[in-house]
Amino acid sequence: MPRLLSLILLLQAFACGVAHAAGQHLQLVVTRPYLEMRTGPGRGYPVFYVVARGEKLTVLYSRTDWFKVRAPRGEEGWTYRDELAQTTLPSGAPAPVPGYPDFATHRWEIGAGYGVYNRQNLVTAYGDFGLTRSLDAELVLQQAFGTLDNRYLATIGLRHTLIPEWRRFSPTLGIGTGYQYTQGKVPPKPLETNNQLAYVSVGARGFITRRFMWRFDWRSYVVFTRQNSNEEPEEWKFDLAVFF
């Protein structure tokens, strides 16, 4: 019996969740002569239905540049961003269809790429948050593959974009700090495995299309050791990223 009761409560919660979720979709009115609905979220999928002017449609969710919509009589299909942007809210205000983020003022970046660190192959993944138009904070995770050792690097830094309005090619300067973990591959073991490091960087970034961008970075590191001299490796890398 307790099991049955708990099942009832679970179903109850689920039923109410569904009921509430159904009421929270955006409703838009078609103002152009018609709006096309396709069978899939892509330019090649066939148009199977059109919503007439003045009719209301419900926007269920989006995938890339396509929006899943429901027609007044229940038919569901996909419509393109530009076409949906030409509808209005029931109040007559323009439809709140999100456009592409502006490259110069975007907030978030996520990217990955290839590079060379200390003459070793390097795999990079990074996340970047725009503090202002020209100043970003970034977190970079990297793995370098050497013949004698593998290195894992985690760095946080600040990056200054000199002229954020330049879209295709805009130089950047950076500074930051982090940690390096060294894992020996062949004997003898590395003298130190955990080291703090600092870097300065020179690079560039540029807009490709829609939400895509590229980044190039050259970094000069100082790895702080307990030996007589610090290590001073160099690195370059090329990343592809998406911005939000």
Partner: protein, 227 residues
């Protein structure tokens, strides 16, 4: 009896329960509505209508550009036989054509052909047999389309290629590896997809005595969920 009682309880609570969440929805009747007598008494104090501006919240459109799932299949580790592989994948669809993807998977090497002839030779330690990899890939949907099941059912599909790089940990050491793949995504619903992939992980190794590039081809079947 208990089942019948349970059924009644289930129906009663499920039907009634939603009303509880709407308990605040009763709007009070406006003051003076339908009160014709009140209007005629002009000397009464005029009641200032207290109208608060209704804040209309426009619902946001939920994006479902991420794809998360698991896969299982066979990985042919060069010189070490074909073995089961299982892994997880996370993808972000940037446009209808391009996506970025990350994989994490594991397999375990078998024995070399040499060990079939000389069973007493040890090539890999027990922990060295672990084959673990991660990849960061860029994917492109080359052939999007539909497949048909009978007369009344169509599923959206895409044939895609991926290229990327990552780490293969095998025989106790990490190696830089490139990977190239071809796959098919069949969307069972708009939320659930089935994947069939063939991918080659290429890296340089000297495990068998001379340095060479090895090709480790895997064929996998996976399920993903868009969210």
């Amino acid at each position: 009896m208990e089942i019948r009682l349970g059924g009644v309880l289930l129906a009663a609570v499920a039907l009634s329960g939603c009303a509880w969440f709407h308990r605040g929805d009763h709007r009070p009747t406006p003051l003076g509505a339908g009160d014709g007598a009140g209007a005629s008494t002009a000397d009464q104090t005029i009641i200032e209508p207290q109208v608060t501006r209704r804040v209309v919240k426009t619902p946001k459109i939920k994006a479902s550009d991420f794809e998360l799932g698991a896969y299982f299949g066979a990985l042919s580790i060069q010189d070490f036989g074909t073995n089961p592989v299982y892994g997880a994948r996370l993808a972000y669809h940037v446009t209808e054509d391009v996506f970025m993807e990350g994989y994490l998977a594991r397999s375990r090497a078998g024995t070399t052909s040499l060990q079939d002839v000389f069973p007493n030779i040890t090539v890999l330690s027990n922990s060295g047999k672990q084959f673990t990899y991660y990849d960061l890939d860029l994917g492109y949907n080359i052939l999007p389309g539909e497949v048909f099941l009978g007369r009344g059912r169509a599923f959206n599909t895409a044939l895609y290629t991926t290229v990327g790089m990552g780490d293969v940990k095998f025989a106790g050491t990490d190696r830089f590896a490139l990977n190239f793949g071809v796959g098919t995504r069949i969307l069972i619903t708009d939320w659930v997809a089935m994947h069939m992939d063939v991918r080659d992980h290429v890296f340089e190794t000297d495990l068998t005595g001379r340095t060479k590039n090895v090709h480790n081809i895997e064929a996998t079947l996976g399920v993903t969920v868009f969210y």
